[in-house]
């Protein structure tokens, strides 16, 4: 699954550590999500959507095969 974590974080001038703190996860998790190596749980996705003040589908894009 693709996501816009990196772009949205950069737009807000946040570091990975800032975002990790806001979402109450480790920095490693943010790195893995940004690199697309890890798809977050639904609850974390909702948390991110709330934080970025955007709908989930504006942050995460499902693969074309779905």
């Amino acid at each position: 699954m693709k996501n816009r974590f990196k772009v949205l974080r950069a737009e807000r001038d946040w570091t990975q550590a800032d975002l990790a703190a806001e979402l109450d996860v480790s920095r490693q998790t943010i790195i893995a999500i940004e690199k697309g190596k890890y798809d977050p749980s639904l609850s974390l996705a909702f948390k991110a959507a709330k934080l970025f003040e955007m709908p989930i589908e504006a942050i995460f894009q499902a693969p074309e095969s779905i």
Partner: protein, 176 residues
């Protein structure tokens, strides 16, 4: 005249007060943002703090369990000449320390974030699988006369620990 002068000062005072109040509000907003930053750092600390606290607790109880295990192993030989009551007491103490260690480990895992939990889950699955496969074959070595010695069950613990550590490293590399 006096009243008019007073009014002038009163108006000026009120204006200054309004302006300072507005500045104060702006300051508060800025302060609010700063507070958000502080809150952010606090939250950051909260996960780091939890991890630190849990690691410390796990280290303490693991050390206590190891010490109590050493007492169970060497105490009868070196200290109390196989006195059964004392040995039973030390075994009881060892079980309590073991329980505390297990609970500390459980707490440590529960407080990890979802990716870290997944990494540990993968490592535990690998470790369990490797230990079962290794343990089963290792137990048969003597009965099928491939080795002369009686296989030591503690060997499985080493395999478990090593496979867990290797799996943790691999999983960390996968997600970083």
């Amino acid at each position: 005249m006096l009243t008019s002068g007073f009014n002038k000062y009163a108006i000026r005072y009120l204006t200054i007060k309004r302006v300072s109040s507005a500045r104060l509000t702006l300051g508060k907003t800025k302060k609010g943002n700063d507070m958000n930053d502080i809150q952010t750092k606090k939250t950051n600390n909260s996960i780091a703090k939890k991890s630190k606290r849990n690691t410390k607790s796990l280290a303490i109880w693991t050390s206590a369990w190891l010490v109590s295990l050493a007492i169970v192993a060497f105490g009868p030989v070196l200290l109390w000449d196989y006195h059964q009551a004392i040995s039973l007491c030390t075994i009881g103490l060892n079980v309590i320390m073991g329980y505390k260690m297990i609970m500390a480990n459980k707490q440590h895992l529960e407080d990890l974030d979802e990716l870290q939990q997944r990494i540990h889950l993968v490592a535990m699955a690998m470790s369990l699988g490797v230990s079962i496969v290794f343990g089963a074959v290792y137990g048969l070595l003597e009965s099928i006369r491939l080795v002369e010695f009686q296989p030591d069950p503690s060997g499985v613990l080493f395999v478990m620990g090593i496979s867990y550590a290797v799996s943790m490293i691999l999983a960390h590399r996968k997600y970083s």
